[in-house]
C-alpha cells in the first residue's frame, strides 16, 4: 500500500514536470444513500449513506506504453465494513501489433449476457458496494496474443486472491448474521497467497462472437460457514480451490442478439457445505426496437433464463430464474435512461424487481434513482434475508 502511495505521488508530481507525454486525470465523487422503508429484519441494521471518491491517472509515456493508476476511497457513515480504500486499478501495459503485456492490478470483464455473467471470473466481487456488478481489482500478470484471423488468446497469472468485501452488522442486504472478516477458511488448496491462473480464447466471425475459457484457482464466490465462537454462532467466509471451464456465444440475427454463457465448475461447496460439481448456464436474447412509438429513443428488451443443476442446493439465487429487462435511452441532451429488471424464480423461491432512472443535471453531474424490491421469498432461500430490504436508492456523481 505504501508503495502505491509512493507511486501515486511520484506520478502526480512527474506529470507536472513533463510536458511532452500524454496524460489524463479524471476524478469523480459520488454521494449515495439507500432508504430502506421497512423495519429492519435483523438487529443493528440501519439506513446508511456513503461517499465515494475515485481518481484515475492515465499516462502514455510512449505510443505503445500505458500506465494507469486508479485509487478509490469509500466511506460509509454507519457500516464501517463497507468503508474501503483500494487501488482498484494500477497497471503498466506494453503492446505491439500482435501482443499485449500487462502487470499490476486490473478489472477484467468477460461475458455477453445481461442479468449476470457466469464466465466473468477474474475479479472478486465488491459485495459491500451494493451494486450487482461491482468488483475489486485483481493483481495479475497477463499476456495476450492478438491475431485478426484467429482471435485473441489471454493468459492470466494471478498471484494473490483479494477477498470479496462484506456488508457489516449495521448494513442491510445481508444474511441474518453478518459475515466476519477474520478467520476466513481456505480449502482444497485455496489461499490468499496461492496463485490462480486463467486462459481465454475469443474470436468473432461476422455476426458471431465465441469464447472458451479455463480457470483454476481460488473461487471468487465463497461459502458462508457458521461456526461457534465463545459460545456464539458467527458466520465466516470460506473459499475453495476450483476448476472452471466456461464458454460464451453470441450471434446477431437482425434486431435480435442471441446470447449464451455456460460453465462447468468443480470444487465449489453448495449450501449444504458439501462439494458438488455442477453445470450452470444462462441464455436469452436482446431485442432492439427501432424508433419505438416513432420516437428517437433506443429501446432494448432482454429476456434470459438462468439455470444451475444443483437445484435448491445452489448458492446462486438465480438457479432457475427467468429475467425480463427493458432499457430505454431517450437520446436527449441530458442522456436520460430508464431501466427495468424483473427476475422470477420458477421454483417460487423469491422474485426481485428493479426500476432505475438516471439523467444528467449538468455536463459534469449525473443523478440516478432506483427502487429495488424482493417478494414472494421462501424462507429456505438466500433472498429470505432480504425480505424487508426493499429500498429507494439515490446516487449523485460529480465528474471533475
Amino acid at each position: 500500500m505504501k508503495f502505491f502511495f509512493f507511486l501515486l505521488i511520484s506520478s502526480y508530481t512527474f506529470i507536472c514536470f513533463s510536458e511532452d507525454i500524454y496524460w489524463e486525470l479524471n476524478n469523480e465523487k459520488t454521494f449515495q444513500t439507500r432508504v430502506f422503508h421497512k423495519e429492519n429484519a435483523y438487529e443493528y441494521q440501519k439506513n446508511t449513506y456513503s461517499v465515494n471518491l475515485k481518481s484515475e491517472l492515465f499516462l502514455e509515456p510512449q505510443r505503445n506504453i500505458n500506465v494507469l493508476i486508479e485509487p478509490e476511497y469509500r466511506y460509509d457513515y454507519h457500516d464501517k465494513e463497507r468503508s474501503l480504500f483500494d487501488i482498484s486499478q494500477g497497471y503498466f501495459l506494453y503492446f505491439n501489433d500482435h501482443s499485449e503485456f500487462k502487470i499490476g492490478k486490473e478489472k477484467v470483464f468477460w461475458g455477453v449476457t445481461e442479468l449476470k455473467n457466469l464466465v466473468d471470473i477474474i475479479n472478486s466481487p465488491d459485495e459491500a458496494s451494493g451494486e450487482e456488478k461491482s468488483k475489486l481489482g485483481q493483481s495479475l500478470i497477463s499476456y495476450s496474443y492478438i491475431n485478426n484471423k484467429f482471435g485473441f488468446i489471454d493468459l492470466i497469472y494471478m498471484p494473490l486472491f483479494h477477498e470479496p468485501t462484506k456488508v457489516g452488522k449495521n448494513g442491510r442486504l445481508r444474511l441474518n448474521l453478518p459475515t466476519q472478516n477474520y478467520n476466513t477458511s481456505y480449502e482444497g488448496g485455496a489461499g490468499r497467497k496461492i496463485p490462480s491462473w486463467a486462459i481465454k480464447w475469443q474470436n468473432s466471425f461476422r455476426e458471431t462472437d465465441i469464447s472458451l475459457q479455463l480457470f483454476r484457482g481460488t473461487s471468487r464466490n465463497g461459502s458462508t460457514l457458521p461456526k461457534l465462537e465463545n459460545g456464539e454462532i458467527k458466520y465466516f467466509a470460506g473459499y475453495e480451490r476450483i476448476t472452471q471451464i466456461g464458454s460464451f456465444l453470441q450471434s446477431i440475427f437482425g434486431p435480435i442478439i442471441f446470447k449464451f454463457e455456460g460453465i462447468r465448475r468443480n470444487g465449489q461447496k453448495n449450501t449444504l457445505y458439501e462439494r458438488e460439481n455442477y453445470y450452470s448456464y444462462i441464455t436469452g436474447i436482446e431485442y432492439v426496437v427501432t424508433r419505438p412509438f416513432d420516437k428517437i429513443w433506443d429501446l432494448n428488451i432482454f429476456a434470459e433464463y438462468s439455470n444451475d443443476d444443483r437445484g435448491s442446493n445452489s448458492n446462486d439465487i438465480f438457479q432457475n430464474d427467468l429475467f425480463i429487462g427493458t432499457r430505454i435511452n431517450f437520446n436527449d441532451v441530458q442522456g436520460t435512461e430508464f431501466t427495468q429488471m424483473l427476475t422470477l424464480d420458477l421454483n417460487g423461491d423469491g422474485n426481485t424487481g428493479n426500476l432505475e432512472i438516471s439523467t444528467r443535471l449538468k455536463d459534469s453531474v449525473r443523478i440516478a434513482a432506483n427502487y429495488t424490491s424482493y417478494w414472494s421469498v421462501n424462507n429456505k432461500d438466500t433472498l429470505y434475508s432480504f425480505r424487508r430490504d426493499n429500498y429507494l436508492g439515490i446516487k449523485i456523481t460529480n465528474y471533475f
Binding site: Y22, K107, N148, T290, R291, I296, G335, R360, Y399
Partner: protein, 273 residues
C-alpha cells in the same frame, strides 16, 4: 462523422450487389444510369485515402436555441475489398468520457459494431439495426455518420441540374437514392453533388418513412487534403419536424497517419483513449 465524410464519396453501384444477392437485381435495374455514374465517379475519386483521424465538436441546439457542446474523435481505415473500419471516441460529457464505438462496415449485409463501456471495462456487441438511432443525442443518426458504401443505396434517380446550394458558382446534379437496409429511418434522400471530378456533396435532404421531409444537412468550408481529397469543415443539420439542429465542426483532419487493422479490433478498443 465518417458516414458524412463518405457521403462525399460513396454512392452506389449495384454491380457488386446483383451478382451476390439476386433479388437486388430488380432494384438495381431500375437505377438511372446518369445518377449511378455520378455516384460511382464520386466514390471512385475518393479511393486511396488510406486512413485519417479527426477531432470534432458538435453543437446541439434545441427549439429555444439553447446549446450543448459535445466533443469526440474519429479514426477511419480504408478497406479496399470491403467497407471501411471506423472508431469514434467520446470525450464529453464526462460521464460517458472514454466510451467508444467500433464499426466494421460491409458492402453487403449488416455492419459489425461494438461499444466499449469504460466503467464496466466491457466490450459489448451491438446490432447495426439501431442505425436510425440518434448519435449522442444529436440530430445526426448513426446511419448519417457511417461508411457510405455504394452498395448501401439503390434506386438512384437523376432529377435535375441547378446552381449548388451555398455555392452558386458551381453547378450541382440533384439525385435521389434509397437506403437498402430496411431498418433505415429514411424512405429516400436527395443529394446535391457538384460537377467537379470529386463531385463534392453540398446538401442532403432526408425523407422519413412517411416520405415527409425530416432533415436537411448542409456542408461548408471544403478543404483539400493531400492535394486530392476534399472534406468539409462544417456540417449543419436541421430537423424540420422538431426544430432542433446540430452543427458539426471538424477541428482537424490528418490523413495517412499510419493506422492499420491492429488499431481496429476489440483489444485496441478496450485500451482506447
Amino acid at each position: 462523422m465518417k458516414i458524412i465524410l463518405q457521403n462525399l464519396k460513396h454512392f452506389i453501384t449495384s454491380i457488386f450487389l446483383f451478382s451476390i444477392i439476386g433479388n437486388n437485381f430488380l432494384v438495381a435495374a431500375e437505377e438511372d444510369s446518369k445518377a449511378l455514374k455520378i455516384s460511382t465517379d464520386a466514390y471512385n475519386y475518393d479511393k486511396g485515402f488510406g486512413d485519417f483521424i479527426s477531432n470534432q465538436t458538435m453543437t446541439l441546439r434545441n427549439k429555444q436555441g439553447e446549446e450543448t457542446i459535445r466533443y469526440f474523435r474519429g479514426k477511419t481505415l480504408e478497406v479496399s475489398d470491403d467497407g471501411d473500419k471506423t472508431l469514434f471516441i467520446f470525450d464529453s460529457p464526462k460521464d460517458v468520457k472514454g466510451t467508444a464505438t467500433l464499426t466494421f462496415s460491409h458492402k453487403v449485409g449488416p455492419d459489425d459494431q461494438w461499444l466499449y463501456l469504460p466503467a464496466l471495462k466491457r466490450v459489448k456487441r451491438i446490432t447495426s439495426e439501431n442505425r436510425s438511432g440518434s448519435f449522442v443525442g444529436s440530430e445526426f443518426a448513426y446511419e448519417d455518420l457511417g461508411s457510405q458504401e455504394l452498395e448501401k443505396y439503390s434506386n438512384r434517380k437523376y432529377i435535375k441540374k441547378e446552381p449548388c446550394p451555398q455555392k452558386e458558382e458551381l453547378t450541382c446534379h440533384v439525385i435521389t437514392r434509397v437506403p437498402v437496409e430496411k431498418s433505415s429511418g429514411y424512405s429516400y434522400q436527395t443529394l446535391w453533388l457538384d460537377d467537379t471530378p470529386a463531385h463534392k456533396v453540398w446538401k442532403i435532404e432526408y425523407y422519413d418513412r412517411k416520405k415527409s421531409l425530416l432533415k436537411t444537412l448542409k456542408f461548408g468550408d471544403y478543404k483539400i487534403y493531400l492535394d486530392k481529397f476534399w472534406r468539409p469543415s462544417t456540417y449543419y443539420m436541421i430537423n424540420h419536424q422538431t426544430g432542433k439542429s446540430t452543427d458539426l465542426l471538424v477541428e482537424e483532419i490528418k490523413f495517412k497517419v499510419g493506422l492499420s487493422e491492429r488499431d481496429f479490433n476489440q483489444k485496441s478498443l478496450s485500451r482506447i483513449r
